[in-house]
């Protein structure tokens, strides 16, 4: 009888011990998680810079977005060119076919973001006589008059780099260069 009780006591204390161990490890896990400093976001620096009072991402000198509308290609041949955004220094249209978004077209005024214009200094080819660059896998752009960036971006694999180059040429680039 005593033996049985002793065994039970040992078993019980073993169980208690394992529970205690489990609790300890849980606690330390919690402590470690709670105390471990969160790695700073990769955007923390730009957040700090741009959240100051009076910060401007868009220059006062930037063209009205609406002044760009007239230079965009028009709908036709089964493609719907639909206005999407119009903000100061920026206008964007979607190119849809059969209700599906294939690409986006945009004009932006680089007066707000001079680094955007700088990249055309390394341009290795031209479209319609304007310096052109490919950016990433889905974007091709040109710089008109050293200031206005015209871009075509694929949103579907069916819309290729050749399509982007062809659509950039559908803009009224002469008109834009006189703006």
């Amino acid at each position: 009888m005593t033996l049985v009780l002793a065994r039970r006591a040992i078993r019980a204390s073993a169980t208690n011990r394992s529970i205690a161990l489990l609790l300890c490890s849980l606690c330390s896990l919690l402590l470690v998680t709670a105390c471990a400093p969160q790695p700073p976001s990769r955007y923390a620096e730009v957040q700090k810079e741009t959240s100051q009072k009076g910060n401007q991402a868009v220059s006062k000198e930037a063209q009205r977005g609406g002044s760009f509308n007239q230079f965009f290609p028009k709908s036709g041949n089964g493609y719907a060119v639909v206005p999407a955004q119009e903000k100061k220094g920026f206008a964007e249209y979607k190119v849809n076919k059969g209700g599906k978004n294939l690409a986006v077209l945009s004009i932006s005024d680089t007066v707000s973001l001079p680094t955007a214009a700088d990249k055309y200094k390394q341009s290795s080819f031209k479209i319609a006589g304007f310096p052109a660059v490919d950016q990433g896998q889905n974007s091709t752009g040109i710089l008109v008059n050293g200031r206005y960036q015209v871009k075509a971006q694929s949103r579907d694999p069916a819309f290729t780099r050749q399509d982007r180059i062809a659509w950039i040429q559908k803009f009224d680039l002469d008109g834009l260069s006189r703006l």
Partner: protein
């Protein structure tokens, strides 16, 4: 100062009542809405780019644009957040009103609005909030009213889901299948003071065009009348019924038929779909602009 945009997007939930409620509407717009969360993840999905240096550039420009208050993105966020939390208060009021009708607390009827009037205001204010937030985020794109309507008609993804949720959770469930007509009748016969006593309206009134509350009521009524056709078409083309919606909701909320009246109020208080999908829309539009501008 708002939280950084990347934190707002990183902190969007992947589960919970809001996400489950929205998923229950997937059958209406199959595959249109994926619960896209995480700022970098959104950049990759929207642009299809994988180069980390490029993602960093896009993200940095999007953060800067969001932080420039003159660009309207923070006002849009405020609208999405406010219309949700203010309508949650309405949910509480509607619930009190139901209790008022059903139990000995009959006197509560006198201090809480009738659900139909309150729901009609709520629905129409939320719809107008969508229009105002759209303009804050996208400007008024194009050169004509036709262009602007084409831009609105091009709604997809999380924006379309937000409208589906508006029709279902704030229209059909509380007001029934003829909700648009009922709501329009109600708001057409209202006085500005009815509007002034509505918490959802009071939450967002500063950004609703129209000048005073009489002008705002007229703006809301006209906007509602203009979009009524779209809403009715959405309901009839998808064959949406109250019963069908409730059947889907039963998959994640337990309720019995005699408690169905409370469902609208329950959703109102717990499903923050304007904020959730609004942040997703905001992130997408900022990223689209950022990648075009860099």
């Amino acid at each position: 100062m708002s939280k950084p945009i990347y934190e707002l997007v990183d902190e969007l939930p992947t589960g919970g009542l809001t996400v489950m409620g929205l998923k229950s509407l997937d059958f209406l717009i199959p595959g249109q809405w994926q619960n896209l969360v995480g700022f970098d993840n959104t950049i990759r999905t929207v642009t299809g780019e994988t180069d980390e240096g490029l993602i960093q550039q896009i993200g940095e420009r999007a953060v800067a644009l969001f932080n420039d208050k003159s660009q309207g993105y923070q006002r849009a966020l405020w609208l999405y957040e406010t219309v949700d939390s203010a309508s949650g208060l309405l949910g509480t009021a509607a619930l009190m009103n139901r209790i008022g009708q059903d139990t000995f607390l009959g006197f509560l009827k006198n201090i809480t609005p009738k659900p139909e009037k309150a729901q009609s205001i709520d629905l129409s204010v939320k719809l107008v909030t969508e229009l105002v937030a759209f303009c804050q985020i996208n400007g008024i794109p194009g050169d004509s009213i036709g262009d602007f309507l084409a831009a609105l008609n091009d709604y997809g993804g999380e924006s379309l889901m937000r409208m589906a949720a508006l029709v279902c959770f704030d229209g059909i469930i509380p007001l029934g299948p003829a909700f648009a007509e009922r709501a329009l009748n109600t708001i057409s016969g209202m006085s500005p003071s009815d509007l002034e006593s509505n918490p959802t309206f009071n939450g967002v009134k500063d950004l609703i065009p129209g000048g005073d509350s009489a002008g705002q009521l007229s703006f809301i009524t006209q906007s509602f009348a203009q979009t009524q056709g779209w809403m009715n078409n959405f309901v009839s083309s998808k064959n949406i019924t109250r019963e069908g919606l409730m059947g889907n909701l039963r998959n994640f909320i337990e309720f019995t038929d005699d408690k169905a009246d409370y469902l609208g109020a329950l959703l109102d208080m717990n499903v923050k779909y304007y904020r959730h999908t609004g942040i997703q829309t905001l992130a997408r539009r900022l990223i689209e602009r950022a990648v075009a501008e860099i």
